[in-house]
C-alpha cells in the first residue's frame, strides 16, 4: 500500500522531533561568546595576512555551530537541507571567486 510512495517518504509519522537539551543550548551559547572574545582579541594581535584568515575562520566556526545546532541541521534526517545550504554557499563562492579572478589579474602582464 505504501510501497514506492514518495508522499510517505516525507510524512513525519516517524519523525521524532529532536528536542535540544538545555545543556546543549547553553553550551553552544557559551561557545559562540567564546568565539566572539577570541576574534576580538585576535584582531589586536599582528598576525600579518593571517588576521583576515583567523577572523573569517572563527566566524565560519560560529556560523557552523549555529547552523548545525541552533538550526537543527545536525538532528534532521533530511539530507535535502544540507544540499540546499551547500548549494547556496557554493554559488556564493563562485560569485566571489570568479569576480576576484578578474580583479586580481587585471594588472598582470
Amino acid at each position: 500500500m505504501s510501497d514506492h510512495n514518495p508522499a510517505s517518504e516525507n510524512t513525519s509519522e516517524h519523525i521524532s522531533e529532536h528536542i535540544s537539551s538545555l545543556g546543549s543550548c547553553l553550551a553552544i551559547w557559551l561557545a559562540l561568546l567564546a568565539g566572539t572574545t577570541l576574534t576580538v582579541a585576535a584582531a589586536f594581535i599582528d598576525l600579518g595576512p593571517f588576521n583576515t584568515i583567523v577572523a573569517l575562520t572563527i566566524a565560519t566556526i560560529k556560523a557552523t555551530l549555529v547552523v548545525l545546532f541552533y538550526m537543527h541541521v545536525k538532528y534532521t534526517h533530511e539530507k535535502l537541507t544540507g544540499l540546499v545550504i551547500v548549494s547556496a554557499i557554493f554559488f556564493l563562492f563562485i560569485l566571489l571567486a570568479l569576480s576576484m579572478a578578474d580583479y586580481t589579474t587585471r594588472l598582470w602582464r
Partner: protein
Amino acid sequence: MATAVVSDSGERETYLNAGYGLKSWLLTVDHKRIALLYLMSITFFFFIGGFFALLIRLELLTPAGELVQSDTYNKLFTMHGQVMVFFFLIPAVPAVLGNFLIPLMIGAKDLAFPRINLLSWYLYIIGGTLMIYTILNGGVDTGWTFYTPLSTEFLKTNVISAIVGIFFAGFSSILTGLNFIVTIHRMRAPGMTWNRLPLFVWAHYATSIIQVLGTPVVAITLVLVALERLFHLGVFNPMLGGDPLLFQHLFWFYSHPAVYIMILPGMGIVSEIVCCFSRKRIFGYKAMTLAVVGIAVIGFLVWAHHMFVAGISLYAALIFSLLSYFVAVPSAIKVFNWTATMYKGSITYQTPMLYAFGFIGLFTIGGLTGLFLACLGVDVHVHDTYFIIAHFHYIMVGGMVMAYLGGMHFWWPKISGRMYPEGWGKLAALIVFIGFNLTFFPQFILGYMGMPRRYHSYPPEFQILNVLSTAGATILAVGYLLPMVYFVWSMRYGKPAPPNPWNAAGLEWQTHSPPPTFNFDEQPVVTWEAYNYDEIDKIPEKEEVPVAH
C-alpha cells in the same frame, strides 16, 4: 469510488466554473486559475514589448534617424528589452504553463504553497504597474542592462521606478521557483519517482534553482544602483574610486543564468511535444535530466562572456571563454536526443509539433552563434553589433517564444476544454517561422558587416537588410496575432476537448479537460515509466486511459 463532481444543473465541476465573479479569481489559490491570471498579464506585456519592437523596426527603415530622436530611440530599445525580459520571457512558461501543469503532471492537488503562488502574481502585477508608470512618465533609457555610471550618474529619466518594478518582478520569480522546488520534492503522487517525472517537470526544477539562487543577486545590485542614484554613494562611480565593471559582474551573474531561466522551460515543452508526436519515448531520459541540471549549474559559471571587451583582465576572459564552451555541451546533447527520439518515430505534424521543429532548428542556430561569441577573437569584432541581437533573438524568439506557443497549443485543450482550429494553427506557425527568419537572419549579416546595436541611424549600405528585417517583423506580428484571435474564438466555438485529444502520456491527460478544481477525481498512483508510448499505442483507439466520469 469517487466520481466527478456534478453541479445541480448537470454540469461537471471544473476549475473554470467553480466560482464566478472577480473575487473568486482575484483571491483564488487554485494554481490553474493563477496560471490564467498570469496568462492575461504576460500577454498584455508581450504586446507592450512588441509595440516597442515595432517602433524600433519602423525607425530603422531609413538610414537617417527620422521617426524619433536618438534619446527617444534609447528609451524604445530599453523598454522593449526590460518589458520583454522581465515581464514576458522570464515568467511566461513557468508562471503560465508551469503553474498550470506541474501539480497535474506529478499527481498533486495544488502547488506546495498556493497562497505564495497568488502572492507572486500580485508582486508581478505591482512590478508591472511600476513599469507602466515608468513608460507613461517618460520612459527610461539605460538599456535593459542598466550599465553604470550612465544609469547612476548621468541620466535624469525614470531609472528608479524601473528598478523597483523589476525588483518586484524578480521577487515574484523567486517565489515561483521556491514553490516549484518544494512541490516537486514533496508533492509527487505515489509511484511518481524522480525517474518517472516528465522532462517538463525536470526542466522547471532546474529553472527554479536558477530563479532562487540567481535572482537575489540582481535584486541587490539594482538596489545598489538605486541607492547610488539617491545618495551618490560611489560604489560604481570611477570618480569616487568605484568600478563600473563591478556592476557588470553582479548584473551578469544573474542575467546570464536568466537566459537559462527563459530557455529551459521551453526545452521541457519541446521534450513533451516531440515524444507525443513521434509516438516514442524520449531518447536518453537520464541524459536529458542531467543536461537540464547541467545547464543550470554551468550557466552560473560563464557570466563574464558579456564583458570580454569591457575591460576585464585577459586571464579572466580566457577562463570565462573556456567555461562558455562547456555550457553548450548539455544543450547540444538535448538537440541530439530530440533528433534521435524522432528517428524511426511515427511523426505527425500538428501545430505543436511544427513549433517544436521550429524550436529545434532555430535554437540550434542561435546556440551555435553563441559558440562563435564565446571565442574571444570573434567577440571583439561582433560585440555590441546586430550579430549579438540576432544571436539572442534566435534563442529567445526562435527558441523560447516558439516553444511557448507550441506548449500553449499542445495544452490548450486541457486548459480550456476546447480544441483550437488546427488549420489556422498550422498557418500561424508557418507565418511565425517565415516572419521570424526574415526579421532576424538579416541581422546576423548586418552585425557581421559592422552595424552597431542601439543606434537609430546607420550607413546607407545597410538599408536593404534593415528593410527586410522590418518587413519580417510585420509578418511576425501577424503570426502572433492569429493565435490570440483563434484561442479566444475557440473558447466559445471550439470543439469540446476530450481528456486526451493527443493520446499523450502524462498524468495531466488522465483527468478531464478542463480539470476539476482539485485536479483528479481520485489520487493517481503511478506504475509506469515516463513516455510509455509503446504501451499507450497498444491500446485499441477508442478506449482512452480510464478516467472516472
